[in-house]
């Protein structure tokens, strides 16, 4: 078994259309093939291939030693990952659903996030914590939380949330290669959305990008809210308004440069996120943009977020979830007479 080294991705382009679930599966498989210190474990990731089939086939391909089921205990999984990372491994653990990661919270906050700092960089934690997150799938309680703010507020963690199969593939490869722990948030409702994936494409952690050009206002989105932002921009276009869309992709580190440039180019901004808004990632974005783009802003930064309530039951989730209309309503308030 060799120790991990950062290595460039294979140069040969390999484009294929696939779902995000398949893209994550592919990234796991490719990373395991490249580096035999990469291990995948969690609840039901082995024979079953995960409740979303994201780890399908990995045990068959790499054996029980590389991809395996654990006893049903999230703190146990996370704490075991810490010890494995101390001993040269790169664990990729799966938390079955967002809310089922909470039992592991203390291991995440007190150890995964802090071990590198505690040991002055002598013991890094190259751990990836995969969390299928968010709603929009008609899931019952505890299966639809957008829990990113807890992680983003915790120094020492990197946090990413892809919105496309391509980013899911490339960011997961980057996450697995990262010497620092990465909370990898997979938008459940986008698992089955298809897109083209070039497995040779590298996407570094920390790089937002403008995914739709526009001149009148900037929509800032990530993960689950990206398709909403795009749809809103399409709808606005019909009404003659040109909306720019930024997909953050990474929440930590946050890409101030890209976001600031985008907002300054339009002078108006709306942040879209599914999580409850209070003291959240979207608060941070709104606060930063308000501060850093102060003299460019024609209107206050608006937020379209989940309400500050527990995630809605299936039959009511459509009232909870940010949608195109709510985004357009927010855009309408952006002081267009200025």
């Amino acid at each position: 078994m060799t120790m991990i080294q950062d290595r460039p991705m294979a140069a040969s382009a390999n484009r294929e259309t696939m779902t995000m679930a398949t893209a994550v599966n592919r990234a796991l498989g490719d990373a395991m093939a490249d580096d035999d210190t990469v291990l995948v474990f969690g609840e039901d990731v082995g024979a079953l291939g995960g409740v979303f089939r994201v780890t399908d086939g990995l045990t068959a391909r790499f054996g029980e030693r590389r991809c395996f089921d654990t006893p049903l205990a999230e703190a146990g999984i996370m704490g075991m990952a810490v010890g494995m990372a101390m001993n040269g491994m790169r664990p990729v653990v799966e938390m079955q659903f967002d809310a089922f990661a909470y039992p592991a919270f203390e291991q995440v906050v007190s150890h995964v996030a802090k071990m590198g700092n505690r040991t002055r960089g002598r013991v890094r934690m190259p751990i990836v914590i995969r969390i299928p997150y968010g709603g929009g799938i008609g899931g019952v309680e505890h299966h639809c939380d957008s829990s990113e703010s807890y992680y983003v507020h915790t120094p020492g963690l990197l946090v990413v949330a892809p919105a496309t199969p391509q980013d899911a593939y490339s960011l997961l490869r980057s996450a697995i290669r990262s010497p620092d722990p990465v909370v990898f948030l997979e938008p459940k409702k986008l698992y089955w959305a298809k897109g083209e994936v070039d497995t040779s494409l590298e996407v570094p952690i920390g790089a937002a990008h403008v995914i739709r050009a526009g001149t009148d206002a900037t929509l800032i989105a990530y993960g689950t809210s990206v398709p909403i932002a795009l749809a809103a921009a399409d709808a606005a276009e019909e009404e003659g308004r040109s909306l720019q869309v930024v997909d953050l992709r990474s929440l930590t580190p946050y890409d101030d440069a890209t976001v600031d440039a985008a907002v300054r180019s339009t002078g108006r901004a709306v942040v879209i996120a599914e999580a409850p808004g209070f003291a959240s990632v979207s608060s941070e974005i709104a606060a930063r943009v308000s501060e850093r783009c102060f003299s460019w802003l024609e209107a206050p930064v608006r937020r379209v977020t989940g309400f500050d309530i527990p995630f809605a039951p299936p039959k009511l989730e459509r009232y909870y979830l940010p949608d195109v209309d709510r985004v357009l309503d927010a855009v309408d308030t952006l002081n267009w007479d200025a």
């Binding site: 024979a47 079953l48 049903l72 008609g138 019952v140 309530i309 039959k315």
Partner: protein
Amino acid sequence: MTDFLPRDTPVQLVDTTGAFSADPVYPTPAPDALVDGYRSLVIGRRVNDQCNALVRQGRLAVYPSSHGQEACQVAAVRVLDADDWLFPTYRDTVAVMLKGVAPAEATLMLKGDWHGGYDPHVHNVAPQATPLATQLLHAVGFAHAAVLKGESTVVLAMCGDGATSEGDFHEALNFAAVFHLPVVFFVQNNGFAISVPLSRQTAAESLAHKAIGYGMPGERVDGNDLAALLSVLGAAVDRARSGGGPTLVEAHTYRMQAHTNADDDTRYRDGSEVRAWADRDPLLRLRTHLRREGLLTEESEASFTEAADSIAATLRDALNTDAQLDPDDLFRFVYATRTPQLEEQSALLDGELRRTGQEAQA
């Protein structure tokens, strides 16, 4: 203290052929209790069948069936007095109904209308817990409060084999033992936690062996033998009520169907294993025994079927009706009084609904 260890083999009173043998320690349940229990088994099986059908028809979002585990469901409730409390999991819908909760209320969460459908204080049933093992601690706190109030409530808390691996399981049993509380921990070991077999949850000889580590008695019982369950759980409830503290009871049973309708159990287990367990079915076995003893007549069987039919019909009716849901409920219960922020947010939603004319249809 080694008497805290469970037996080498699970307690059994009625074997798979329906033959009865008395136990040297555990009493034999009265014939009435068995007949009544059989009635509940018939109802429980029917509830499982009906709910599975309702899932297929799209009326329930999801249903974790207890098919094959009905004897556990029935016994968990039958050993309790009306004042006693049940702390069930998502898989224990049959037990919840048998404790008195109306079918429509018991399935409201699975229907997707709200996160829970019944008032816990009406029939003394805690909300069905989804986060594994967390409810065991609630049961402990509930029992602790009862003791402080001088009430003689016994609390029966259920969980699965997988849940025993969670830290909360450990903390709950330990708290119950340290505070010597009237709690019966009832583990339905059905062999699987979704796809993960028991061998991945424990290397111990049995889950009941954990009890001695907390200083409480542990026992194993055949989870498909209603008579044995009534007897073993009944003894644990008696001990709890008489100040003898908590007990851990592990029932050996089997999840005959997939984890939920969303699961595909062919990926992780052999059909032959499932078929082998069919021979140990809790209904068949008790029926054979009762008929052999002359305790079950054609008429009583017919009346049980009728009772089951009627509950199934109630379930169908309840689930085929679309409730009028009020979106403002989203804000109504988060706090006893809405915060100013929730006032603003509900006003926002309300405005949207008015503008789009949805408030009527909602």
